[in-house]
Amino acid sequence: MIENLKALPQNLRDSVVRYTLHPTSDRERSQATFHNLFLHLQSVRVHRNTLRVAYSFGLGLITTASFVLLTLTGILLMVYYKPSTELAYGSVKDIHFVVPAGRFIRNIHRWAAHLMVVAVFLHMARVFYTGSYKKPREFNWLVGLALLVLTLGLSFTGYLLPWDQLAYWAITIGANIANSPREVTDALHITKFLDVGGFQKQLLLGANYVGQEALIRFYVLHVAALPILMAMLMGVHFWRVRKDGGLSRDETAPRDPNDVFSPTKTYGLMAVVRGRTPAVGRGPEGTVQSWPHLLWAEMAVFMFTVAVTLALSYFFDAPLKEMADPAIPENPAKAPWYFLGLQELVSYSAFMGGVGIPTIALIGLGLIPYLDRDPRGVGKWFGGPEGKRIFWLSTVFGLISVVALLALTVNCGWLRNWIPSIPQPVITLINPGTVIVLLYAAWSLWILRRTASLRLSAVALFTCFLAGFVVLTSMGSIFRGPNWQFYWWPSQWPVH
């Protein structure tokens, strides 16, 4: 028995680690990788291209790292947070001012959320522009879209929880966007039979107004339902990345003549030669061992994310306005910045801006890999010089057309200012939002006709939407003031 007790530390370690923690050869490193639940998410060897910073920018990993940070800080915040309309605001205030390290942890939660949204958008753009959605990665593109929607859903549900003025009015607006199919059903006089809007709003709020039921529902979605879904889909996403062949790369590129390929013939020892054999230190087909190369890269990205988040959290506090007051709306009542493009669209038509155009955009994004079946151009930014040209042209077209349209709307108003008695369905159909979508679609079709390439027309459309998103978001965040009026700078806002 004494013998066994003496050997306890060693035996305990051996029982935990299935292989070894100190592999010395490539073979042992491979074993160590696939004998570990967490490490075996990645393959034993990765292509060198995977580690190229300028190819992926580590954006998927940054997103994952932010999610880990959000989960950890979120659990800590749950210790003090009370999801009740009477106590929520006070408990967040306590977290901010009383709880040890509370302010810092809340700040990290907020900044990691912002970082995650930024990274997830950029990650999508990277995957799109490198053609990484193409066969066999179509399905993973769809999983990625679902993850994008979940990320935004998590941000949206988290926004209500502090129960301050900002939260209350942003969610009131959000819930009424869910209600906005009524704009269409009312116009068709079918709301009595088919009230999609009312159903969605009641499902979201559990009532007809933002109150205790809504707060509990948002809390459950934010801390349980959406994160669980998210974690599951992230698992699927990573697994498919691996199974679909790792990070995409240009398979047609000429291979490095020094690379060792899968052996098609064997060599005999014809002569004793000086120097290293070609195989030493080089893996088959330009791959390297995941352990340690990929692990180092992953750790670097993770530490980078943590460092950025901590720095931002140290210097900038998460906002907390006055407690929610259903009688006085914030003026202007603004959603978080990534929804302000939508809010700008919503200020033309609630249904089109809040439901119609986002749905069209999501369906369009989902269709991309199934419409563009051209296998060429994978793994190259913009698919080559021609794509790059289309990208720049489309950026210019996208920016000019949306800025011109916004300038027209700000200076001259829209249909209702010209013809006051115009019926609502006309505005729902024809408003700056739908016009810009049509312009972008027309541009993309024109590119398709000119180049006869679905890939290039997809690049054109995606780029236009990206430009539109950026301009509309800046419009909503910077240039809109009280009463959603246009101001060049917040310092010009009227004081009252």
Partner: protein, 151 residues
Amino acid sequence: MFDAGRRDFLGLAAIGSALAALGTALAGVLRLPKPAVLPGPMRVYKLGDPAQFAVGSVVKMDAEQLYLFRDERGFHAISSVCTHLGCIVAHSEREGFACPCHGSKFDTQGKVTGGPAPTGLAWLEVSLSPDGQLQVNGETEVSRGTRFQVG
């Protein structure tokens, strides 16, 4: 016709019945989030003695989310909830109503004159409660221009 061996048939039947059972259970469970009763405060408001409101006065009722008007022709109440996305509109005697959230504008009668609001502001039913108080029903809309005369 459907051609399958006995085992195939039994297998398919088992899978089919399992799916049907799970589907039914899921449908039943998913009814839960749809509220059967909508919670919320009573939306019939008693506003007290009608005589306290002078002719020509406009009163903003915060908790009730409405504006109460009294002119020579009687009382009327206009909901202060914007029909666009539910913000509370501000009122001015000359210009009518303006929404702070997305810039919807309404004339003094609550008709849309600008911005994204799909319909005009709701006119709410005004009546006299049995105990002689002025009463506004936040659930019942009346047609624009309806006035309530006391006595």
